[in-house]
């Protein structure tokens, strides 16, 4: 159940919202780039093995 944040509800919720958004964004971008680079490296290594 949501706690009673009183007159500072907007303050507290906006601080949590902004921070959680930034943390999720950081993790998502890191994972997205990590997977992209890994796929690119695998494809390149495969191509180099095939071409000798």
């Amino acid at each position: 159940m949501m706690p009673d944040l009183g007159k500072y509800a907007d303050t507290v919720l906006s601080a949590y919202g902004a921070s959680i958004l930034l943390l999720i964004g950081l993790v998502a971008i890191s994972l997205w780039r990590g997977r992209r680079v890994r796929a690119e490296m695998d494809a390149l290594e495969k191509r180099m093995r095939r071409d000798g």
Partner: protein, 250 residues
């Protein structure tokens, strides 16, 4: 095992293959533990702790502000250690780890600045003040941006690692300054440390334990992200090397 042998075994992690093998084994546990600490700490802090008699419910912002500020400063200090290892021992993994840590530290600095501003508006009556700690934190953020821009701007990776390492040494002054600004100048709006090894300076017990859990979550998340992103940087470097070899063979 003698100290020199222990140190030599530590340097073996500078081998990219060994680093990737070890960190990939550790990462699932680190992700799970950091997620668990963050979820438990934030739920505990947000839902189960009382309001402060002066700050009201805004005290709940402490669970985000203090850990992120801590990681903003310590992230830069971690980059300093990695940069020194690069400058002295020329281990590529250390330079890439410093590069990988910069966006994480920059995000932590933004979280600390944003949550501080949001808290400051009702408590201090202003979003921002040119207070020593706030100003040194803003400068630290600019150093993070400059560090990342310098890495991207230089084509040759070893030169980029050299120059960013020097920038990191300079920026360390502001990382330390932002930690001790309140003590150095003893003026401005920002209060002293919320946590200290000296128990007298700590926040009240009811806020203390969830705060420690949140700090543990932020530290573990930082480590997990540095390991993961360093792995990405190692692979990106290998791609560049393979492409260069391919071009030379063509």
């Amino acid at each position: 095992m003698a100290a020199s042998e222990k140190l030599n075994s530590l340097w073996s992690y500078a081998n990219p293959r060994k680093f990737l093998a070890v960190t990939e084994r550790m990462l699932p546990g680190l992700w799970a533990l950091s997620g668990a600490c963050l979820i438990v700490g934030l739920i505990w802090g947000f839902f189960l702790t009382p309001d402060d008699y002066r700050q009201g419910s805004t005290v709940k912002i402490i669970y985000l502000h203090v850990p992120s500020a801590l990681m903003a400063i310590n992230g830069w200090l971690m980059m300093l250690v990695m940069s020194l290892i690069w400058l002295i021992r020329r281990h590529h993994v250390s330079a890439l780890a410093a590069r990988a840590a910069a966006p994480i530290g920059a995000t932590m600095t933004v979280i600390a600045l944003v949550t501080g501003a949001i808290w400051g508006q009702p408590m201090w009556g202003t979003w921002w003040a040119w207070d020593p700690r706030l100003t040194s934190f803003l400068i630290l953020f600019l150093f993070y941006l400059g560090y990342m821009a310098l890495w991207s701007a230089i084509e040759e990776p070893d030169t980029a690692a050299d120059l960013t390492s020097v920038l990191c040494l300079v920026g360390s002054v502001f990382a330390l300054l932002s930690r001790y600004a309140v003590n150095f100048w003893n003026q401005g709006l920002h209060q002293g440390a919320s946590l200290s090894l000296d128990k007298k300076e700590n926040v009240a017990d009811v806020f203390y334990i969830p705060l420690l859990v949140c700090i543990a979550g932020f530290v573990l998340l930082f480590i997990a992200l540095v390991f993961y992103r360093t792995g990405t940087e190692i692979r990106a470097r290998r791609i560049r090397a393979l492409e260069a070899r391919e071009r030379a063979g063509a």
